[in-house]
Symmetry: C2
Subunit: 193 residues, 2 copies
């Protein structure tokens, strides 16, 4: 039935545990037990607890960065572009709310080198938002005073989903994505076409 390799089972177990209790409150015993293994088995597949976090964090950051870069490239219309970016980014945080919680909230537990790497991905994401908004302003379809500040506010809205979104709650990830995309267009004063 379950043919998932031990290495992945451990990563999934770590996501669950880190999301529920946080990195520092999670024990390696908890992770290995959730994966159905002894405490020692973890170290056959992952060098350390931090390494496990890094793998989760790095993959998640690359995922989201690539996703919104693709959203950016998918259209040249500023309204469609911002809506698509924010729809995808918000929806991802709803669909993967547990994983995203680890990705977004456990950065300080990474080693300085690993933290530096993910900081780069985060800068990319912020730049995509800023560019998408700035272009709409330039083309006269958005009206925004503080472009970087508005970009951060939109990113905040999506990221903070991981703090409260419940898969069994009243909103589907799609519904959240559409609501948030609409809020983004309102936030930039988009002229409807």
């Amino acid at each position: 039935m379950t043919d998932v390799p031990a290495r992945e089972r451990l990563m999934d177990a770590a996501v669950e545990a880190f999301a529920e209790r946080g990195f520092h409150a999670t024990t390696t015993r908890d992770i290995s037990t959730r994966a159905g293994m002894s405490p020692a088995a973890l170290y056959v597949h992952h060098a350390s607890k931090e390494q496990l976090l890094y793998e989760i964090s790095s993959a998640g950051h690359q995922n989201t960065r690539n996703m919104i870069l693709a959203a950016y490239a998918s259209t040249a219309d500023p309204v469609d572009r911002l809506a698509t970016i924010h729809f995808e980014f918000s929806k991802w945080h709803a669909v993967h709310s547990k994983r995203a919680r680890v990705v977004q909230y456990e950065i300080s537990a990474l080693t300085p080198e690993h933290r530096k790497e993910v900081a780069g991905y985060r800068r990319d994401i912020e730049r995509v938002y800023r560019d998408a908004i700035a272009e709409g302003v330039e083309k006269g379809v958005f009206e925004v005073d503080d472009v970087p500040g508005t970009a951060l506010a939109l990113i905040s809205m999506a990221i903070d989903l991981v703090r409260w979104y419940q898969p069994d709650g009243p909103r589907t990830p799609d519904a959240v994505g559409h609501l948030y995309a609409d809020l983004a267009l309102r936030a930039v004063g988009a002229t409807r076409s």
Copy 2:
């Protein structure tokens, strides 16, 4: 010079430490050392590390709840009301970004009883936002499809400030408050008066 009681010095030190490293990564030695005391001194003034967190969390939650209840009561105009609520709430998270980080992100480290208490304060805050938006819709000055969802999105925007706001960054707390209040009015489709 410094006439701050030991009890408060420890609370301030705990805020700093919890904000920088998180509750679980913070040691009681770290807290007492920051307050200029021995590890044992902490327990003269606070029953446990969790109790210290609870005192910080409870006070912060009551603070913000009372603040936005006052903002709600300060005017009956829906536009002014939502703008004031969101200005105050956002500004608070910028001014007290360290303390707010502890208040917002360490809830899961509280005991179930303490967590239950602060959950009540949080419900109050969400209700104020929902009511403020719903009234604007009823009076025909706001246009919102999903009132609770929009309320959560605005709260998210403000709370997420604690993840990135830097006191020495380009924006003053007042500037953030004004920007966010403006974004809130746009988000609800407010008709300018």
